[in-house]
């Protein structure tokens, strides 16, 4: 270590210099004292005897101060540094000297300043990142479609996102802060749901309940869940409440349920007839021949009805999946129409209705999906028969011009109210009219007819007057 060898330690230097000046002062004093005592002038020249060594000592202490000046400076700075609250490196000052000792201190300071500068940058960066992350989480929290509220252990709202407030029909989520969440929710729901909210146990487990705004689910059904958050693993501190609007889901479930009920009812009715008649025929051997024939016919009719319903179900499932496809071929309209006419006539006869078919003398050949078109037209005709009372009139008229073919099904039936008319082609829609409700149906026949017409580039239009009758027109483009 050449540096350590070249620079002797402070103690060494101080003691060497102090000793040097001290010894030379003492030597001068002793020498002067002996010399002056020899000449007998010691007393006369005593000021000089004392003055010279004193001067030497003063000079020595001056040199000593110079030697230890920078050390004192550093010691003072370090004392201030250790007693300051922040221990900031920036409070330390460099030494205005050029010796290697000062250079070492200054380099150390520079390094320290550099380090603290980097620390500052790092801290500012971390702050910025943290703020940005917090902002991002805040924005996620606000934009979630589910309502979320965080509550303190007493159930008072600490924070709530916009969706929660929107579900509660308020624009501003801030207004709810501090309110009791259970009280707030109870105000919004029906009696049954109020009870369910109040019954939420104090257990730590996550609880999920369904609550309804009123007895009618279309006014709003919510799924409410409460998650207890364990603060430090011992006592629950905060609770997180989520609120999801499941109205559409509920309504769809209800529609599906109703459809299944209607469908099973529709399946059971012809099956009941088939079973009853076939059992009767099997059990009794002495039934007159004509009666047997009529029983067989009934079974046949019911089987046809069942088959038609199964077809309808298949069409519906295709329609539900958006998978109805049509395959257009040239269709002989006259033949198609007479088939429909023949299949529907017995139903009209059963109800003693005047059933009339008018077909224009020369119909053009159309490109259509024969089965789908037949099913759609059958739906229109059988609807007319179904919703026209006994003894009424059902009139089917087919006409064409250069650009289109019109299938008009007119009846003197119960008609459709202006209120129901726009919803008539919606899937599953059935009028609330008691006369309609008393007739079995799925509410899908018209929706299917409309879909088939649309796929052919045509449409179904409806004119109707309540209690007077209706006219359904299926229009197909000619080619």
């Amino acid at each position: 270590m050449p540096l350590a060898q070249r620079h002797r330690s402070l103690t060494q230097r101080v003691s060497e210099q102090y000793l040097l000046f001290g010894l030379s002062g003492l030597f001068c004093f002793v020498t002067a004292a002996i010399y002056l005592s020899w000449h007998g002038s010691f007393l006369k020249l005593i000021p000089a005897t004392v003055g010279i060594p004193l001067g030497l000592l003063l000079l020595g202490s001056f040199v000593l101060r110079r030697t230890s000046r920078w050390h004192e400076n550093i010691e003072g700075q370090l004392n201030r540094f250790s007693s300051s609250p922040n221990h900031l490196v920036s409070e330390l000052r460099p030494l205005p000297a050029t010796n290697s000792f000062a250079a070492g201190w200054n380099q150390l300071l520079a390094r320290g300043h550099e380090h603290s500068a980097w620390n500052g940058v790092e801290r500012r960066l971390a702050d910025a990142i943290h703020t940005q992350q917090a902002k991002r989480w805040e924005s996620v929290f606000q934009q979630l479609t589910d309502g979320i509220a965080v509550c303190d252990p007493d159930g008072r709202i600490i924070q709530m996102n916009r969706s929660f407030a929107t579900l509660l029909k308020r624009a501003d989520s801030e207004t709810f802060v501090g309110m009791d969440i259970q009280e707030l929710l109870v105000e919004q729901v029906n009696d049954d749901s109020q009870q369910r909210i109040c019954n939420l146990s104090s257990s730590h487990a996550t609880q999920v309940i369904e609550i309804q705004r009123s007895t009618d689910p279309s006014h709003g059904v919510w799924r409410l869940s409460r998650i207890m958050q364990s603060g430090d693993g011992s006592n629950p501190t905060e609770s997180i409440w989520t609120l999801r609007d499941v109205t559409q889901q509920k309504l769809a479930e209800k529609a599906r349920e109703e459809f299944v009920f209607t469908a099973t009812h529709e399946l059971r009715t012809p099956l009941a007839n088939i079973r009853a008649y076939s059992e009767t025929l099997a059990l009794a051997s002495d039934i007159p021949f004509e009666q047997q024939q009529s029983f067989y016919n009934t079974i046949n009719n019911e089987a046809t009805r069942l088959a038609r319903f199964v077809d309808e179900l298949l069409n519906i499932s295709q329609m539900e999946a958006g998978a109805i496809t049509i395959q257009k071929h040239e269709v002989q309209l006259e033949r198609l129409l007479s088939e429909i006419f023949d299949s529907q006539r017995p139903l009209a006869n059963e109800k003693k209705q005047a059933f009339d078919f008018t077909v224009a003398p020369k119909l053009p050949k159309v490109m259509a999906d024969k089965d789908k078109l037949a099913a759609a037209l059958t739906n229109l005709v059988s609807n007319a028969i179904k919703y026209t009372p006994e003894g009424g009139k059902v009139n089917v008229c087919v006409d064409a011009d250069n650009s289109r073919v019109l299938f008009m099904v007119e009846d003197s039936g119960i008609g459709i109210s202006a209120e129901d008319l726009p919803k008539l082609c919606e899937k599953f829609f059935r009028s609330g009219d008691e006369r309609v409700q008393s007739i079995v149906g799925t509410g899908l026949g018209l929706a299917f007819a409309q879909e088939v017409a649309r796929l052919h580039g045509g449409n179904v239009s409806i004119r109707s007057q309540l209690n007077q009758g209706s006219c359904f027109t299926l229009e197909l483009p000619n080619r």
């Binding site: 099973t264 059971r268 009715t269 007839n273 008649y277 009767t280 009794a284 008393s438």
Partner: protein, 140 residues
């Protein structure tokens, strides 16, 4: 007066009503047919029946309402009632049976043989016989 039990069949499904009547007549019952709940109620109020076979779904007054009126308005407590229904799980079978004192609820498609043997097995005590029942309250 014959000993034949009188049955009222209330069924809006015409073909099913017909075949039930056909079979019950062959089993020796005196059968009347009503096409809807309103007619059935009127016939029950006017005539005397031992058994009512009714559909659940009917226009106007449905089977449940019909039985309700039979039990509460007409006070026909001894009338034996069999209900048929094309509904399944929607009906609360046990509750309905107990509340309206039904013999049973048959789900369509039911067996005609099952229906006739069910009616055949009904026990009628002397006072239950239609002819002996005291005149009932008729609606206005």
């Amino acid at each position: 007066m014959s000993d034949a039990k009188r049955v009222l069949v209330a069924e809006d499904n015409i073909v099913l009503g017909d075949v039930i009547r056909f079979n019950l007549q062959r089993s020796g019952y005196e059968v009347s047919l009503a096409r809807n709940g309103v007619d059935a109620f009127r016939m029950l109020a006017a005539g005397r029946f031992d058994i009512l076979v009714t559909d659940y779904d009917m226009p106007g007054i449905d089977g449940e309402e019909l039985c309700n009126r039979v039990r509460n308005d007409l006070k026909l407590e001894s009338l034996r009632i069999v209900m048929c229904s094309a509904k399944g799980l929607e009906l609360n079978r046990d509750e309905l049976k107990a509340r309206l004192s039904l013999e049973t609820i048959l789900y369509k498609p039911f067996s005609i043989r099952e229906l006739t043997s069910l009616l055949g097995n009904l026990d009628f005590v002397a006072s239950d016989v239609a002819g002996d029942v005291a005149p009932q309250l008729l609606p206005n």
